[in-house]
Symmetry: C3
Amino acid sequence: MGHPRISGTGTILATAAEAPGILFEAIFYIAIAAEAMTAALAAGRRSMDWFGVCMIACVTALGGGTTRDVILNHYPLIWVANPYLLLLVCGAALLTIPLVRIIARLRWTFLVLDALGLIVFTIIGCDIGISLGEPPIIVIVAGMVTGCVGGVLRDVLCNEVPLLFSSELYATVSIVTGAIYLGGLDFGLPRDGMVVAAFVVGFPLRIAAIVFKWGMPKFVFDKEGW
Amino acid sequence: MGHPRISGTGTILATAAEAPGILFEAIFYIAIAAEAMTAALAAGRRSMDWFGVCMIACVTALGGGTTRDVILNHYPLIWVANPYLLLLVCGAALLTIPLVRIIARLRWTFLVLDALGLIVFTIIGCDIGISLGEPPIIVIVAGMVTGCVGGVLRDVLCNEVPLLFSSELYATVSIVTGAIYLGGLDFGLPRDGMVVAAFVVGFPLRIAAIVFKWGMPKFVFDKEGW
Amino acid sequence: MGHPRISGTGTILATAAEAPGILFEAIFYIAIAAEAMTAALAAGRRSMDWFGVCMIACVTALGGGTTRDVILNHYPLIWVANPYLLLLVCGAALLTIPLVRIIARLRWTFLVLDALGLIVFTIIGCDIGISLGEPPIIVIVAGMVTGCVGGVLRDVLCNEVPLLFSSELYATVSIVTGAIYLGGLDFGLPRDGMVVAAFVVGFPLRIAAIVFKWGMPKFVFDKEGW
């Protein structure tokens, strides 16, 4: 990353400091803001007030990393150590309200940003799992939780069955990306290269899943009384 | 607080010990019991059994503080260190069942007790954030989480969209109260005075919000397919 | 337990090592797998995909112990220290899909396995509470949370009011079992004997509750506007 913008706390993107620099960091912030904006739309569909919009945005954008850190006992939480993240998320969420007509026309832009965010969050989660010395399965789970659980919490608070459990490949993209990233590092390949590889594999896979409606097979069980 | 009734654990109202004493402590316990009772009514609307009534009461009355402590890595949890709180909550919840006709006529009493509880919980949450050396935003969030998240968890368990996100000013009252409290302390004003100020500002604000139906503006977004 | 299969981590069944050995351990693994399979059926009723099936299974089978450990600040989590548990749970859940016709005919088998699991999880939870020096109420709560909260999280993710709060005696069986187990240990009785006693009391109680539809009294409150 070079410049020590958030090195004071040493938690947020400490590991990303070795990733291909400013671009990675920029994608992180843009993806956080994009997640906050799409979460604000979800809150708007439930006619929530401005406070509810901010809460849903925070839970969606920061809930995955928070869940990972609680699972791994990794404190302080990123947003507790860097509270300006709350301002970024709430600012993006509230900005969605006056800009809703524009944002509603940018559905594909937000899908692309969300896909980039999925890869960034997965890498950050894997990095934290690695830094804590977790075994490979847990490293990949840490990446997947970071990338995916925010959306699950959003759906629970919006009183819906989580979309993650039945829609196009999303968590699977995170798991595949995390496995490639970790596998490359274990193989001794340079971190910068593996970050690029994660994007090169994960991002097109997620976009293809949306375009071609690739999903996991569904399990349908309709027997009552069980 | 003067007398060291719960100073053995040093967690629950340690900071409140410097607040205006027994009255603060009394409001804390009464508010906990009142939250348990209104939670019991919510459980009753879902026809839960006595165990469910106790669970909903515990989650509502103690879930905010628990969430705050998990976020801030502040252990032991208040109710783990002081398990008699579970008995107080379950006792109040079960007492609601035979007394339901009386309680149902006391709606305004419980709204007042809930408003007092919101201020007490906010102050306790802020105190814990301060004692951990958190930055101002996190101190205010700690107060708000303590005061508000219990109701969110209750609504999630009752399978409803959290009321907090769309009804009269509630979290906002907590945030304003916490900001005044923290601001006064930072300005060097005495803690006792700021506790009184928190009540003088926060309590009438909450009551006025109920009476005049003050709410944050709502964000309504009804475009499907997003 | 004798053979040190998982003694490396020292967390999962460390305390159970003093319980009546291999049989206890076997019931633990069978119950985990059975919980994963019934959770898979719940996911199937919501037409989730294979990933959702695995997620619901993990949350159901491992969520109780995870919640207990977060409450008690007891790290590492069992499944983080023993990630093969995730493979066991996901394997059992995915196996449910091709075997659904067979499993759907084994409802009583699974009710029996679930009842055995409830007792095992309760004992493990109590053991962890005891090992942390928690007071009696918290030890019993630790056992109850271990045995019961997984199902609550499953129902929340499946967007249902938790069955635990309104169906036949389940948490009550866990509380009674935990109280007997802890009471016997406090009385100086040998641990092996108390494990047997827990099964002798708790298992028939749970089965009788199902057969005779024993439940706690329900609290019904239907006044709106509260």
